[in-house]
């Protein structure tokens, strides 16, 4: 455990169960973890181990069955839907396996979307979106729509979008899962340049996790089975 001063996110006996007909599926079972400000960690495990569920709970996309997620003193389990939306808007940047860009919007329009939601004036949000597109190396592609971009380019746009509102927490769910190995390396290199942010990357690829993060949390059947730091 790192010093309490710099803790950004903590989970308290976090549990998430899904009711499927007569069966109760325990996706996450009493997970207690703490992540510091600026920490880069990988969450590994097989498919169905609960790692994506953990990420969704951390990002306020889903609610725990019991337990809680605490982010800078905010107790997500007790938040209203609107409060969760505002939490996602200000504290979290999401990066998904399938990029999840809005197909009808250009690269620039996708990147500025979080700022549109936050009510940032147009000139300012275009300036900020442009700056981030330049940072991820897509300056010349700002008017391209997602279907005119390669997978790697789409993920760069998604990263720019996740960063544009400068959130302290970056959550990536299999960010390289849909990319070839060379592009995957590029994307991970890009993520590594983002110092100061807490970056949690979910992956099933142990080798990738080891090369990327100094801390690896392993989940199995909804429980933490390993939490290693190197």
């Amino acid at each position: 455990m790192g010093p309490r001063m710099t803790e950004l996110v903590r989970t308290d006996v976090l549990t998430r169960r899904y009711v499927m007909g007569e069966n109760v599926l325990s996706a996450l079972d009493g997970v207690s973890l703490s992540f510091e400000q600026g920490e880069i960690a990988a969450i590994v495990g097989r498919s169905g181990s609960g790692k994506s569920t953990l990420l969704q709970l951390l990002g306020g996309l889903d609610r725990p069955t019991s337990g809680n997620v605490l982010v800078r003193g905010r107790r997500l389990a007790e938040c209203s839907e609107d409060e969760l939306a505002l939490y996602r808007r200000s504290e979290v940047g999401f990066i998904f396996q399938f990029f999840n860009l809005v197909p009808s919007r250009t690269a620039l329009q996708n990147v500025e979307l979080p700022l549109v939601l936050a009510g940032v004036p147009k000139s300012e949000r275009i300036a900020r979106a442009d700056a981030l597109l330049e940072r991820v190396g897509l300056k010349g592609r700002r008017e391209h729509r997602p279907n005119q971009l390669s997978g790697g380019e789409q993920q760069r746009v998604a990263i720019a979008r996740a960063l544009v509102h400068d959130p302290p927490l970056l959550l990536a769910d299999e960010p390289t899962g849909n990319l070839d190995s060379r592009t995957a390396t590029e994307i991970l290199d890009l993520l590594r340049t983002l110092t100061g942010k807490t970056i949690l990357v979910v992956t099933h690829d142990r080798a990738l996790a080891d090369s990327f993060a100094r801390r690896t949390v392993e989940l199995r059947d909804g429980k933490v089975v390993a939490d290693e730091r190197r």
Binding site: Q56, G59, L61, D62, E81, D82, A85, L86, Y87, R88, R89, S90, V92, F94, F96, F98, N100, L101, V102, P103, S104, L113, P114, V116, L117, A118, G119, R161
Partner: protein, 423 residues
């Protein structure tokens, strides 16, 4: 998300699916066009009718009579029509009393006389004849379009309304001046004619000289009373001097007509001011227009289902987009408002085009009516008022928002995690 961004995004989403947007809006266009056409017809006719009544003369005069059971005290309601047997004739004493009512300038008996009028060498028509008192002469002077007012009331002279020439006798105003007309009783067509019945036309009066109650031929009052005694004898109607069906009152100020009518009713007379009559007419038209609006609105209500369907489809198609926006921090209300704005924009687009279409069809029908039935050029059968224009577009927006309500709510309540998982 602010209003401008919500609207911008909504319009952008509609613009991307032009075909579907246009087809959905087309339903609204038809609905609003039919609504506008129906109601504007009602409004146009109402305007013509009101114009007919709302002349200065109509507002400035009142007709008073006395009905059985009116004998003083308060009358329950103003009324215009009676059976003749219900009327108690007015006497000269009554006329004096009417003249003393505050706000009344002058009173004259109504002759209520229909006579056969034989134009020298031309048609014979049946037309009302009324008298002009010496005090009134000045007023009529300014309405003479051909000829001049008589110089001697003792002579047998008359003034013709221009309308009688236009509608019943094919003569020009300047040609009719100086011609002789012969009056005879409506029921005494075969009675022998005497020189007493022959009058000289000295002038022609324009339409503004008359109230909506009629455009009679005018003779000096003394001659009128004499004609009435000789020719209008009828078992049920008073015809003797000092016995009249009704009296016409001129008011000092047309705005006081309702008050004066009330005073008359308190004195036991029956009277309804033009203003009161107009109120009743306007209520009747309001009901008529409301009915027409309901018929016109059926189309609009039908288009509601088209909008609901389009919006439901849009929500399904954009499940993922909704999820992405929610993951990025869009609140339920913001997603809901985005879809409502899209529905409202379809309604506004359809409403504006429908309004233009309805107004245009009205104009075309008006043009056809002018040619087909020889409608006077200043008469318009269709009238699109500002209230109708704003109301129909506003109504179509409201209908669209109602139609988009359930799909928008479904979009707003979508779970972000299921929406994002969707691939």
């Amino acid at each position: 998300m602010n209003v401008a961004d919500t609207l911008g995004m909504a319009l952008g989403n509609l613009a991307r699916r032009k075909g579907r947007t246009v087809l959905t809006a087309a339903g609204v266009v038809v609905g609003v066009a039919s609504l506008v056409l129906m109601v504007s017809l009602g409004l146009g006719i109402q305007r013509q009718v009101v114009k007919l009544f709302e002349t200065d003369e109509s507002l400035r005069t009142l007709t008073a009579h006395r009905a059985k059971g009116d004998g003083g005290g308060k009358k329950k309601a103003a009324s215009f029509g009676f059976g003749l047997d219900q009327i108690v004739p007015l006497t000269d004493k009554d006329l004096e009393e009417l003249k003393s009512v505050p706000g009344v300038v002058s009173v004259k008996p109504q002759l209520d006389m229909f006579l056969r009028v034989a134009f020298d060498g031309a048609a014979t028509v049946v037309h009302p004849v009324e008298g002009i008192t010496p005090e009134e002469e000045q007023r009529f002077k300014s309405h003479i379009t051909a000829g001049a007012l008589w110089t001697d009331r003792a002579e047998r002279v008359c003034l013709l309304p221009n309308a009688i020439l236009e509608m019943k006798v094919d003569l020009k105003p300047q040609d009719v001046v100086g011609k002789k007309v012969t009056f005879s009783g409506f029921f005494q067509a075969d009675a022998p004619k005497t020189d007493e019945d022959v009058y000289t036309v000295v002038g022609v009066l324009d339409d503004d000289a008359f109230s909506f109650k009629g455009r009679p031929i005018f003779v000096p009052m003394e001659h009128g009373l004499a004609l009435r005694e000789r020719m209008a004898a009828h078992p049920m109607l008073p015809s003797k001097k000092g016995s009249y069906l009704s009296a016409e009152l001129r008011l000092a100020d047309p705005r006081t007509s309702e008050d004066v009518a009330k005073r008359l009713r308190n004195l036991g007379y029956s009277s309804m001011s033009t203003r009161e009559l107009l109120k009743t007419i306007n209520i009747v038209f309001l009901i008529l227009e409301g009915f027409m609006a309901c018929i016109g609105a059926i189309g609009l209500v039908v288009s509601l289902f088209g909008i609901a369907n389009t919006m439901a489809m849009a929500v399904l198609e954009r499940t993922r987009e909704i999820g992405i926006m929610k993951a990025l921090g869009a609140r339920n209300g913001e997603i809901g408002r985005l879809f409502l704005a899209e529905a409202a924009a379809i309604g506004a687009l359809g409403g504006l085009v429908g309004l233009a279409g309805g107004a245009l069809i009205g104009k075309m029908l008006n043009g056809i009516a002018h040619v087909a039935v020889d409608l006077p050029a200043n008469v318009s059968l269709f009238h699109v008022s500002f209230l109708l224009a704003a109301g129909s577009v506003g109504f179509s927006v409201i209908v669209s928002v109602v139609a988009g309500w359930i799909p928008a709510r479904r979009a707003a309540r979508m779970e972000p995690v299921t929406a994002v998982r969707y691939e």
